[in-house]
Symmetry: C2
Subunit: 498 residues, 2 copies
């Protein structure tokens, strides 16, 4: 038996167990590799990976240390008696080898993999293997099985609502923060919209990042329900809700390795919506040469896939293919995107028109889920709600109810990227703009990002600013500067426009 | 600037940097994911992954802690002034995405990947992604490029030798410890053989594990050279040599995720041999339905591949396809395998004949690399060296020179697996036997393993012991027991033999 000790280390979604090299209860001198152990003494065994310590101030030979993640799970006080056994490799790891070998996995295999991930029986390396192996190809049935497995056991029920709507964008287009505007419009109309979103995976800012500039997004289930009851809408970071737990662990690995495969993303989005109790979803699929989805054919295949999964799992999906050829709005990064959103809600004349129009279009599609609304009226109703100021009023209520955030400042390290020739902006490369923004620190710091002063079709003079980089710290600023000179992401045609 | 602190934690081949959550020099509260940093102050920047600490006894806000691996690399005393910057993702990670997308990578891309792994700019998750992505397919040119990259910068030179020989087995067959016998014979003959080997990857025991039962295998370069000069042979764990560093890091991830892809293994073996200065290699490719290589066609493809790489990199390779249909020898696990080896060297009548014959055959192939030996004479010369006792004498000299090991005891927890019917052993499943041995603890504890009392073709009575499980600790013993009842790995034909 060993005494439990909390080692206050945050290791980002991996359970670590620290044992002394002369551990009383476990012979560690033969350990050659990362070893999985089971820790007994709590309600359920906790799985962790061994780290061997040679410092009794950190862990004594009669102690077992657990990092934050594992200590929280075992839910015992320091000093509690616990024991340690080697953990056999979970049998579901064999399915990963089968997937590498090119096999189609069964629904049972996906369920086992996801359960083992939720129980932390996979190391991050194992999860990375699963992601890359299953990323090579998945049949529609496999994506369905993965979606169903990812929903998990805990789901949110909305007993008094016949329709619960949400909107999600498949991503790949910087600045695309329609969700905040849509939520305000739909909630003002009166349809319940518990918008769940993640923080950025590989982009400059996720919806939760942008909303967190304005309000607290860490809402628990009771709070979310109360807020939706009160205001018909709320914007929550799904990580704060007790749903789709395995997906959170998988996402943290995806975020690290920077690989987000389309079918995984589809399964992840649909699983979160289903776990959140959503009944009707508008899924925006932006298509463009530098977007996540590059062609209409690809978008169509994705639409068929999500429609199939929606039908099988009773989620009504309206999958909308939209123009993703250039960034949407002017701001890229949470603070700048929140600025654009508030300009639109305030009906400011300098609000970005592309973001405004797209938001009205998508909000309209959502409103048409209401059986009482006549077909084709959604857009006009949405526009009326926005122009009347009711959307702004609802957003202010939502911000107030969630808890107003101390607005972070825009990064003070700036650089203007200017046109080297006069002409017309012919194209803006989404992937490049995203990369420069991420390097400038946008995925870490809300105040970092890019402010696009020119968009496709705009006339520019030589030396005129195309966009401005904002960074919060000097390392990020240097990273962004070091790549932007190679390729700014803007193509200027000197021919003189359309 | 921060003060360096050594945090005595062994994290198994990953550099970790511990910062306080209120770190003076680095804002950590926005960190959402595992973050790569560069630590400056030493000769070269050291790359590590951040762990956030909330305990000033462990790391103060003005300190930066490094785990064993990273502290050793920075090579500065505790208290030294160091600084910390975010590390941009190494550009070679983009090649992994290209590989996932099905592309053929260039030699330059493999070189960049391997360099970045050697510099610890990849997390273990990134390495797992690389292994699974490149494991799906590699062209011969890609395997060549990977091999060349894995050789690394540090190589061992044998200036006074015209031929330096080695033998390596492609693996998949339990108990196959020909190497110790071959080294003794070849060294007794007089050809220099610095046998390098790894500890077990996914098997019950690697050559270095078995040799370490008899002698110290942690030899540095000078020691290895002196020993080969003195005795013409030595058996070293390659991890103790300063060669093929990236390969060691990659292997530790392979060992953890349990996925060893054939082309990676070929590249790894050849790179180690080339880095060790070997000029002539016998590569044993065992083929069998439950071996790593399942068919003669597959073995032939592998032979062509290694011959091609050998020709391109000036390594003379004699690739020999052998029978891998059942385990070789009786012992599986380091102590039991060492017992078999010593029985053969001592010319004991109960020595396993299959291991004896195979060792003579392969040693003969190695001896024939000597231009002075007449073609076809190798086997007979090898047999004469063994039977005369010269091989034993040489092995004893090698053991003495490397440093005799305190022989570990055989695991005292035993169970006899018996035949449920009388008949003849028709087949033994290598993969199953390996799995039971690994679960019994053989890859961790030299004293654990299986002792095969019956082999294919042997007559057995009902209730007679087929093999005996040896375990060192009770958890492993329970694991092995829990699977062996499902399927022992032996098939008994009741028809009455051949």
């Amino acid at each position: 038996m060993l005494n439990l000790k909390h080692i206050a280390i945050n290791s980002f979604n991996e359970n670590l167990a620290y044992v002394h090299k002369d551990c009383d209860a476990y012979k560690v001198d033969d350990i050659k590799t990362l070893t999985k152990v089971e820790i007994h003494g709590g309600v359920k065994p906790v799985y962790a990976f061994l780290q061997v310590v040679d410092d009794a101030r950190l862990v004594k030979p009669n102690e077992l240390g657990l990092n934050n993640e594992a200590f929280e799970q075992i839910n015992l006080p320091e000093g509690a008696n616990i024991s340690l056994t080697l953990s056999p490799p979970p049998p579901s790891l064999a399915s990963i080898k089968r997937k590498i070998a090119g096999n189609i996995l069964s629904a049972g295999e996906y369920a086992s993999i996801v359960n083992d991930i939720a129980a932390r029986r996979y190391s991050n390396m194992d999860i990375a293997s699963f992601l890359v192996a299953s990323g090579s190809f998945m049949t529609a049935s496999e994506v369905l099985a993965l979606t169903e497995a990812l929903i998990g056991e805990e789901t949110i029920r909305w007993d008094n609502e016949s329709i619960v709507v949400d909107h999600h964008c498949f991503g790949g287009v910087p600045g695309n923060k329609t969700d905040l505007i849509i939520t305000a419009i739909v909630a003002a109309y009166g349809l319940p919209m518990p918008k769940t979103s993640s923080k950025s995976l590989t982009s400059c800012a996720g919806v939760a990042d942008t909303m967190s500039v304005l309000a607290n997004v860490d809402l628990d289930e009771d709070r979310l329900k109360a807020l939706v009851k009160e205001n018909r809408g709320a914007i929550a970071c799904y990580n704060s809700l007790p749903i789709a737990q395995a997906n959170k662990i998988i996402s943290s690995v995806e975020r690290h390795i920077g690989i987000t495969q389309q079918q995984h993303l589809a399964a992840s989005i649909l699983a979160i919506k289903l776990a959140a109790g959503v009944t009707h979803l508008v899924l925006d699929i932006p298509v463009g040469p530098s977007s996540r989805i590059k062609s209409t054919n690809e978008a169509m295949r994705l639409r068929k896939l999500v429609e199939y999964i929606g039908d099988m799992l009773s989620l009504e999906i309206d999958a909308v293919i939209t123009d993703g050829s250039e960034p949407i709005g002017n701001g890229i990064g949470a603070v700048l995107e929140a600025r654009d959103v508030m300009k639109i809600l305030r009906n400011k004349p300098d609000a970005p028109q592309d973001l405004l129009e797209k938001s009205l279009f998508l909000a309209g599609r959502l409103l048409e889920f209401d059986p009482k609304l006549r077909g084709g009226q959604g857009y006009h109703v949405a526009k009326e709600i926005l122009q009347s100021g009711r959307a702004l009023e609802t957003m202010n209520k939502i911000i107030h109810a969630q808890g107003k955030a101390p607005q972070p400042r825009l990064g003070h390290l700036t650089r203007d990227i200017v046109a080297t020739t006069a002409g017309v902006v012919e194209s803006i490369d989404n992937a490049r703009i995203n990369k420069i923004g991420v390097l400038a620190g946008a995925s870490q710091y809300p105040g970092a990002g890019l402010d696009l002063l020119k968009k496709v079709g705009d006339r520019v003079e030589q030396g005129e600013t195309l966009y401005r980089i904002h960074a919060v710290n000097s390392t990020d600023f240097a990273f962004a500067n070091s790549v932007v000179d190679g390729y700014t992401g803007y193509e200027i045609s000197s021919k003189g426009g359309y």
